[in-house]
Amino acid sequence: MVLLVIKEILHRKINFLLGVLAIIMAVALFIAFFTSSEASKRETIRLTRDMGFNLRIIPKSTDMNDFWVTGFSKTTMPEKYVLRFKKFKNFSYAHLTATLHKQVTWRDKKIILTGISPEIEPSGKKKSPMIFSIQPGTVYLGYEVAKASHLKKGDVIDLFGKKLSVAKTLSENGSDDDIRVFAPLAEVQDILHEKGRINEIKALECLCLMNGQNDPLKIVRQQLTQVLPEAKVILNQTIAVARERQRKMFENYFALLLPFVVLVCAAWVGTLAMMNVRERKQEIGILRALGYSAGKITVLFLSKALLIGILGAVLGFIIGTALSLKFGPEVFKVTAKLIKPNYGLLIWSLIAAPLFTALASFIPAMIAVSTDPALTLRED
């Protein structure tokens, strides 16, 4: 049986190679797109993280004019609010940090004193911390603050009566972070006499929404209403969002293209299988005369289809991965090192492609076995 399949393939190489080519094209296109798209997604997530928090949760009663002028809310809310996020699963909020900001004058300069709590994550999410963790009794100084006061790591400062050690001086950031003094939340609450109070929860939209929603802000607001109706949320529209939308656009193109490619390949493989059946009509008659059952002949045809699928899947995976490595960085604007072969896709291809070819060859195979062998032999 195996010998018959192999020998027939070698005898009708063109038919076999054209079948393999159709599957290679379909699989390679899918693999190339998917691999590059995944890399693009990883890069967008990385970029978003690098850019910092993009969700700002502030008390509902915040005066937005004041907020945008000063850069923080003058209204406070209980620190414990942040803990409410812990019990929610499948949430689009990540890396939640309670903060307290206030503009103060220190060493004759206006600075922003910022207290930061350790990060918490909603239920089910385990992520590496995104922000620095400031040890009790220490501070991090913004670039301008350190420069103006000639302070360096290890110096001890007096911050409104509290002796704190400089754990780090930050490099120039090009934002109001340069005029901030960062300290543990508890220390800042103590200094500002705001025990247990915060005026902002910073968070990162985890890109779950951007994958499937056109208006992530609407969704994050709906989710916030469930958890914290006493607050409102602001979403920074970032470059990452634009990148994610570009990726979505490619995904939409792909979603349109894929069914078309699948249909063309199915028609292609089906036509080749049909041609093969026509060409082998007499052979089918001979095999029936030699005692081959209809089932055995179906297996012969479907075995060939499965071989086409398996070979097409392996070669398609290799070519698709190579294409994504070659052209992915340009199309999806990602660094080449982010594009990695996804061997899980190889397994999926090895399941889907043979199944696809077997289905496309099924009707021709049925025609093959239902062809009256006597009619073929009698025609001679």
């Binding site: 005898h11 029936r288 005369a289 030699l290 005692g291 081959y292 209809a294 032999l377």
Partner: protein, 214 residues
């Protein structure tokens, strides 16, 4: 051995009905060498394929080796055919991508390598065992087809114009091999225009318009 009772088979061509077998009854005993003759379109090949469990008649019953072959299911009929019937065709019908050896082994029901070697020797094909059909002469191709028909030790060999494409020498050679099978107790039914087979025939049947001319 072979028993056909009131067998009818009608083909539809260009809107007309053509009776290839018309209420035909025929009995062939075990060990007979039957030659079937008749003009083109008289139903000879249809009769052969009907006996060979390849073509279900529209009416009547066909029994081969005591088995009502068309009451068997498709798979069982295929098994019956493989075990009991050997076919030889005018156009040889070898699989073009297989060697002589592989063609002979295609219908083999078990590991019959030693028998295949013997048959190849008997038919003078030992030297050609690893050649493909395109590299063989017409006589060698037909001898390969005969070898393939013999591999499972069938009870019956059905041959449809086995000498139609052969020169007289090769034709005689093929008929002698069929006669050899008959001499060992096998039943042979040959459709042929040639008279070479008449020497070995135990019976000659003439057909006309789907009926046997008595």
């Amino acid at each position: 051995m072979i028993d056909l009772q009131n067998v009818g088979k009608i083909y539809h061509a260009n809107g007309k009905k053509v009776a290839a077998l018309d209420d035909l009854s025929l009995r062939i005993e075990k060990g007979e060498f039957v030659v079937i003759r008749g003009p083109s379109g008289s139903g000879k090949t249809t009769l052969l394929l009907t006996i060979g469990a390849m073509l279900k008649p529209d009416s009547g019953e066909v029994a081969v080796a005591g088995e009502n072959i068309y009451s068997l299911k498709g798979g069982e009929r295929a098994k019956f055919r493989a075990a009991n019937i050997g076919f030889v065709f005018q156009m040889f019908h070898l699989l073009p991508y297989l060697t002589v050896w592989e063609n002979i082994m295609v219908p083999a029901l078990e590991n019959q390598k030693s028998e295949a070697h013997e048959i190849l020797e008997d038919l003078g094909l030992a030297e050609r065992a690893h050649h493909k059909p395109f590299a063989l002469s017409a006589g060698e191709r037909q001898r390969t087809a005969v070898a393939r028909a013999l591999i499972n030790h069938p009870k019956v060999i059905l041959a449809d114009e086995p000498t139609g494409n052969l020169d007289p020498e090769n034709a005689s050679d093929v008929i002698e091999h069929l006669a050899g099978f008959h001499a060992q107790g096998g039943t042979v039914v040959v459709v042929t225009h040639s008279e070479q087979a008449d020497v070995y025939a135990t019976r000659i049947i003439r057909m006309r318009k789907g009926k046997i001319n008595v």
